[in-house]
């Protein structure tokens, strides 16, 4: 049951072969057994989960169930869920019980009838690429427990990789769905900016943040995205577009597909083992009928520098709300009001979050705004234009998701710049606002390698189809870490 896709789980629930309470209990038992070592979940509430499972069973019995009703899911702890502690990986929100549902949660709970198994660990305020900045401790990669699962959606990735949940939500500001998916052998999708509502999703860098599915397969991603996506009047940047079926192109043949390979993604800087797996995947696509086109993203090397101006600038503004007045942590001892702010924020935020707030405060300050913030926004335009140009000659862009496989816990945590460079292939996609995926494509030294697929705006269905056809022809995505049974 733990390796079963969403479609088959849905059929089993509909045929009464298993109830949602039984299915949810199965995963809750696995969490109880395996989570103490992995640290993938920060909050589990068996009673609450089984209550929604019982509600789902009632819907199934009444014939009012949808495609995902009764299926368990792990929620990244960045999504506010009413009555659930919602920490965003921070001491600042360690005791914050959300008073309302994020739109994504509302859609998955009330509308789809899915059962939340708990909230997953993450880098603090989604700032990190290894899950090591979490106030609740690092997550271990189920493939090698001395290594990181990636981040910031590291808990969601580890949870699905270890089959503590069939599927999970994640968010991606600079690679936070795709990089952990790649490092944990999962399929993950970051939709076009504006497709999934940001309402109730705790803000990091609002012009880049986007929620999406993390799953065992492209098909499961499509089914979960169907339930997550949609226009939301409560998110000012939500796109008013007709609803679409993201599974519609799953069975579309690949013949005639033009795959663009940006020369910058195949130059020095990527591990040989990772590159070999990616090249082999591209050969497989050629066998399946796709044609290869050389493209160029000449400004992609500037994406990390531009991101580390834009994202911290937005973060310094977004995180000003944590002042110890209305909610969240307040320092136990302080003098005047200013001292209360200073101590609350010094004690409530971890080192990486403080660094990014300080960078943001600096690049937005008088005298530096033009040189840093505006320059970064101009470079963002150049990066987005590169993609426009590339998509004139191809339908999908491919390359590695990350330059390396999962690195060791502690390996990069002392050097922020080295950590930042692990997102070198993913960040440009966020700056442009395009959809991107990571798909399992092999192993290097027994560690998973992710193939990145980048689509044009609103090409999620095509991307999912391109990934699904590959998964029909290969079995990388079905490989399980050792000791997971």
């Amino acid at each position: 049951m733990i390796n079963t896709g969403l479609k088959e789980l849905s059929q089993a629930l509909a045929a009464k072969k298993i109830s949602s309470v039984e299915l949810s209990s199965l995963f809750l038992d696995r969490i109880e057994r395996l989570n103490p070592d992995l640290n993938a979940f920060v909050t589990v509430d068996r009673e609450k989960s089984l209550k929604s499972a019982a509600d789902a069973d009632a819907r199934l019995a009444a014939g009012t169930a949808g495609a995902l009703t009764g299926i368990p899911i792990a929620q990244k702890d960045i999504f506010c869920a009413e009555g659930w502690t919602t920490t965003c990986g921070s001491k600042m929100l360690a005791n914050f019980v959300a008073p309302y549902d994020a739109t994504v949660i509302e859609k998955l709970h009330a509308q789809a009838g899915m059962v939340s198994l708990g909230k997953t660990n993450m880098d603090e305020f989604a700032m990190g690429s290894s899950n090591e900045t979490s106030y609740f401790g690092p997550v271990k990669n189920p493939w090698d427990r001395t290594r990181v699962p990636g981040g910031s959606s590291g808990g969601s990735a580890a949870a699905v990789a270890a089959r503590l949940a069939p599927v999970a939500t994640g968010t991606d500001t600079g690679g936070s769905i795709r990089q952990p998916a790649g490092l944990c052998n999962l399929t993950g999708l970051k939709p076009t900016y504006g497709v999934v509502s940001r309402y109730g999703m705790i803000a990091y860098a609002s012009s880049l943040d986007q929620g999406g599915p993390m799953a065992q397969s492209a098909e499961d991603c499509a089914l979960l995205l169907n339930a997550m996506a949609g226009f939301d009047p409560r998110d000012s940047t939500s796109l008013e577009r007709p609803a679409e079926d993201y599974a519609r192109d799953l069975d579309k043949p690949l013949a005639g597909l033009r795959i663009g390979l940006p020369k910058e993604f195949f130059a020095a800087g990527c591990d040989a083992g990772v590159m070999a797996a990616v090249q082999a995947a591209i050969k497989e696509y050629e066998k399946l009928g796709a044609a290869i086109v050389d493209v160029s993203l000449p400004n992609s090397h500037l994406s990390v520098p531009a991101y580390y101006v834009i994202a911290p600038a937005e973060a310094s503004s977004n995180l000003s709300r944590y002042d110890g007045v209305r909610f969240g942590y307040r320092a136990p001892e302080y003098g005047n009001l200013d001292d209360m702010y200073m101590k609350t924020r010094a004690q409530g935020f971890g080192a990486e979050v403080k660094r990014r707030i300080l960078i943001g405060a600096y690049v937005l300050s008088h005298g530096y705004y033009d040189a840093y913030y505006l320059q970064a926004q101009r470079i963002r335009r150049l990066i987005a234009n590169d993609f426009v140009e590339a998509f004139k000659s191809c339908d999908v862009i491919m390359g590695p998701t990350s330059p390396t496989t999962a690195f060791r816990l502690g390996e990069k945590s002392a050097d922020p710049v080295q950590m930042y460079l692990s997102d070198i292939y993913t960040i440009a996609v966020n700056l442009a606002g395009l959809p991107g995926m990571s798909v399992p494509c092999g192993f290097a030294d027994d560690l998973p390698v992710g193939l990145q697929l980048i689509g044009n705006y609103f090409d999620e269905a095509r991307l999912l189809g391109v990934a699904h056809r590959y998964q029909m022809a290969t079995d990388w995505h079905r490989r399980l870490p050792g000791g997971i049974d």
């Binding site: 076009t192 012009s207 580390y308 003098g335 924020r345 010094a346 403080k354 300080l358 101009r378 470079i379």
Partner: protein, 95 residues
């Protein structure tokens, strides 16, 4: 460019984050490393390029000026560190 310790303290104050002298020193090292990375941007001539603030060209939607939310004041205030009589309490600002 390179940030001085004074500058680190100044931006920490702007961001309302208390930083000890020892922390300021470590932070200075990290920030200077990060700004070295960021400086790569300065080599690019972006004359005439329009800054891109957002992935989509959107104008703000307007909605009817009507009540859309229910009163959740009590639930929201229950989350505050300190309240009294429906007010959020902070240290005295005006003597």
């Amino acid at each position: 460019m390179s940030l001085t310790l004074d500058q680190v303290q100044r931006i920490a104050h702007l961001a309302r984050i208390e930083v000890s002298e020892a922390e300021a020193l470590t932070t200075q090292g990290h920030l200077n490393g990060i700004f070295q990375l960021i400086e790569q941007m300065q080599a690019v001539d972006t004359t005439g390029v329009e800054p891109m603030a957002h992935a989509q060209d959107l104008s703000q939607r307007l909605r009817d000026d009507a009540v859309s939310e229910t009163d959740r004041r009590a639930a929201y205030q229950a989350l505050a560190p300190e309240i009294e009589a429906g007010l959020f309490l902070v240290p005295k600002v005006i003597e």
